[in-house]
């Protein structure tokens, strides 16, 4: 009884995202944006050398690969004229190449998008998610678990976590993709019924991050299971994960600005 009253006293704390944007969702760094092309005096390799994970591509045209970016902020600090933090949590993308900003290859990505849309057309309104840790640092699990706390409360959107892969529509994978998790991850994927969608949660899961190509694997999970939606972040915030899940099941367009 005492606990029931405590629960009631708490009132409504739940975010209305994605129906409304949430001010908190923009309160921290979610991604890196390239402000404009550098002038002639900036040497390409000097810009590339700013980044500890090789996320800055400066081969004639300056781009950031958000799939490798661990948001250390070093580029922003060194070259605030070229790089900036982007607070928008809607960073999940369909197609690995769509993580390169500024965008290119819209057409190539469009194909992937259409293919995914075809697959998810038959998913019902409620989505069952199976999480697998393939070598995370542990923080991703906190952010995934946060989705069920009263603030994000994803059950209100018909999103449920499930223990058994046989009931899962969406495989949400964290971690660098270690050699030791390749087998269990593949088995979980295979046990899921069709149609199924795979979401790589976090920069580690996308590219291995700082551990990229260690002797223990760590090239990202894309070499083990076919990834549909890529959500960068180190770790990705609950808002970014929620947005990614909604994109994955075709309930939200990737770039839709939530108003």
């Amino acid at each position: 009884m005492a606990w029931l009253l405590r629960g009631l006293r708490q009132g409504v704390v739940t975010s209305r995202y994605p129906r409304r944007s949430d001010v908190y969702g923009r309160g921290y760094m979610a991604a890196i944006a390239v402000l404009h092309a550098p002038d002639k005096s900036s040497a390409d390799d000097e810009l590339a050398a700013l980044c500890p994970t090789g996320a800055i591509l400066a081969d004639g045209r300056l781009r950031v690969d958000r799939g490798r970016c661990i948001l250390c902020g070093r580029c922003v600090e060194a070259r605030p004229d070229l790089f900036a933090f982007d607070g928008s949590p809607e960073v999940g993308r369909i197609g690995r190449r769509a993580l390169l900003v500024p965008d290119e290859d819209e057409e190539a990505v469009e194909e992937v998008r259409a293919e995914l849309a075809k697959r998810t057309r038959f998913l019902r309104r409620s989505i069952h998610v199976r999480h697998v840790d393939a070598g995370s640092d542990g923080s991703e699990e906190w952010e995934v678990a946060a989705l069920t706390n009263p603030v994000y409360d994803v059950q209100r959107l018909g999103i449920f976590f499930t223990a058994t892969p046989r009931h899962a529509d969406l495989l949400l994978v964290t971690g660098v993709g270690t050699a030791g998790m390749a087998g269990p991850l593949r088995l979980t994927y295979e046990a899921m019924p069709f149609p199924k969608v795979v979401l790589a949660a976090g920069t580690d899961a996308i590219s291995g991050g700082l551990l990229h190509s260690s002797y223990a694997g760590a090239d990202g999970i894309g070499s083990v299971v076919p990834v549909d939606v890529w959500v960068p972040g180190s770790p990705p915030s609950p808002f970014s994960l929620l947005h990614g899940i909604l994109v994955a099941v075709g309930l939200l367009a990737e770039n839709r600005a939530v108003t």
Binding site: P52, L71, G135, D137, M181, G209, A216
Partner: protein
């Protein structure tokens, strides 16, 4: 060469006896670390903590030598360390009672990664055939939990060998998540290595960055500015609150206390949001840098104090109610008892030790940074050794943590202007460093040669404590598993390496 620990050089044949004598004399084995040398030799360092001191017992195995008289027969706390060294270096401790693979099962003929040696190993596939088989026999069967478990958890596999409801034996497999962290440290520049330290155990990034940076500061003989030390304490203690809340959340979830669960997850979210308001990152990454911190808090100390006060009150109120809920306490009381003797012999760390009366707290034993001048008392007086005692320790520590945060913020409100960090010289030499992470003593061994890191070994409290896990199961039934695990509060990332 500069140490934060005294060192004693020994012959390989003397190592076990010397460490055993030091442990008998009131010390505890804090770590056993190997380092590969370029010439093929392997250095072994056994770190013994006693009272306020650390002593490193060191020996070198020459090139080609791959055996030494093991420590485990005399010092059982060395068991997991020697298994890890066997996996990563191919060095065999003679007399080890059970040298099963721990973090990296490999075929015997495969070259080991040998951290410290600059040659980059190729991709190594785990060899499942090298793992011991499941036990089966008359009336005994093995129940595997994991590595993919029900719920949102880190991957780990527990093998419960049982003749029925009682748990006579439990084995833990942690290799699935092995990421090759230690080698990667040696491939990074110093500034990038801080970023990796933050990701060894991503839920305690501040503790890791602080321990690693302290080692660099010891090598460079640099004292960070006082207000940078205060900022470190603010984040370190908020981190402690978040991690302890996470453990409490798992208890409430296991006990089906739905409202308490929702309330505690809300408090945890508020801590993460407060950190984001203070520095822009929910896990406070990027705050601790070599020589100090990256800059001031983004909130004024007054605003930060108000925010901290509100969360502190809400948590205190709910934990009081939780510890007054008999149906909850009944599940924890008498569950997963760790005998004081086992805890003392193993030198258990953090809340796991403190719940059984072993008060090892680096903030008190070997104070560092701002803990040298802030008022603080360790959580003492919990001796029952059950899940309830460990939970009580955590609740007490949450209270102390907020007290420390308030002190630090009070002083920051008055602190003079000045730099947030000092330059540190290119590191050279060997240093140990330690901090009290939420799970207990976190150690870093850092070796550098003319600015280049040659060996970095984080020793996480989770690694040390998880070795004791199976000792908490004597006689407990399977349904208590969730509480025993939650009460250990282990981060698997920190165990697998």
């Amino acid at each position: 060469m500069r140490h934060a620990a005294a060192s004693v050089s020994l012959e390989p044949s003397q190592l076990a006896d010397s460490v055993a004598a030091a442990v008998r004399g009131g010390g505890r084995l804090a770590a056993l670390v190997a380092t590969a040398r370029r010439d093929g030799a392997t250095e072994l360092r056994a770190l013994v903590a006693s009272a306020g001191d650390l002593t490193s017992f060191e020996t070198t195995l020459g090139p080609g030598a791959d055996r030494y008289p093991g420590l485990t027969p005399l010092v059982p706390a060395a068991a997991w360390y020697e298994r890890e060294i066997h996996d990563l270096f191919g060095i065999e401790p003679i007399g080890h009672p059970r040298l099963d693979p721990l973090v990296l099962p490999l075929r015997p003929d495969v070259r080991r990664p040998r951290p410290g040696n600059p040659d980059k190993p190729p991709r190594l596939e785990p060899d499942l055939a090298s793992l011991p088989r499941h036990v089966s026999g008359e009336g005994v069967f093995t129940i595997p939990y994991g590595p993919v478990r029900s719920g949102v958890f880190e991957s780990v596999e527990y093998l419960v060998e049982t003749p029925g409801e009682d748990i006579p034996h439990l084995r833990t497999r942690v290799y699935h998540k092995h990421r090759g962290i230690e080698r990667r440290f040696g491939e990074l520049e110093v500034d990038d290595a801080v970023l990796l330290a933050e990701r060894v155990e991503g839920t305690v990034s501040v503790a890791h960055a602080t321990a690693f940076c302290q080692a660099l500061e010891t090598l460079g003989n640099v004292e960070p500015p006082r207000r940078a030390q205060l900022v470190r304490v603010v984040y370190a203690e908020l981190e402690r609150v978040a991690v302890h809340l996470d453990s409490i959340i798992r208890h409430t979830e296991g006990a089906g206390q739905a409202v308490a669960y929702a309330r505690m997850t809300l408090h945890k979210e508020h801590i993460l949001r407060l950190r984001a308001r203070l520095c822009g990152h929910r896990f406070a990454r990027g705050v601790v840098v070599p020589g100090g911190v990256s800059g001031p808090l983004h909130l004024s100390p007054t605003d930060a104090l108000a925010a901290v006060g509100a969360i502190d009150r809400a948590i205190a109120d709910d934990t009081r109610a939780l510890m007054d809920t008999p149906s909850f306490l009944d599940r924890l009381r008498g569950t997963g008892i760790l005998p004081a003797s086992a805890v003392a012999e193993h030198g258990a760390l953090g809340p796991v030790g403190r719940g059984s009366g072993l008060v090892e707290d680096v903030r008190v034993r070997r104070p560092y940074g701002a803990y040298r001048f802030l008022g603080f008392e360790p959580a003492e007086g919990f001796i029952e050794g059950d899940a309830l005692a460990r939970q009580s320790v955590r609740i007490e520590e949450i209270r102390h943590a907020f007290h420390l945060v308030r002190q630090a913020l009070d002083e920051l409100a008055e602190s003079e202007t000045g730099p947030w960090r000092h330059e540190i010289p290119a590191p050279d030499g060997t240093a140990w460093s330690s901090v009290e992470a939420p799970q207990g003593e976190l150690l870093y061994l850092v070796e550098a040669d003319a600015g280049q890191l040659t060996r970095v070994k984080p020793r996480c409290a989770s690694f040390h404590n998880l070795a004791l896990f199976e000792r908490a199961f004597r006689g407990d039934i399977l349904t208590d598993f969730v509480f025993i695990e939650a009460s250990f509060g282990v981060s698997i990332a920190g165990v697998s390496g």
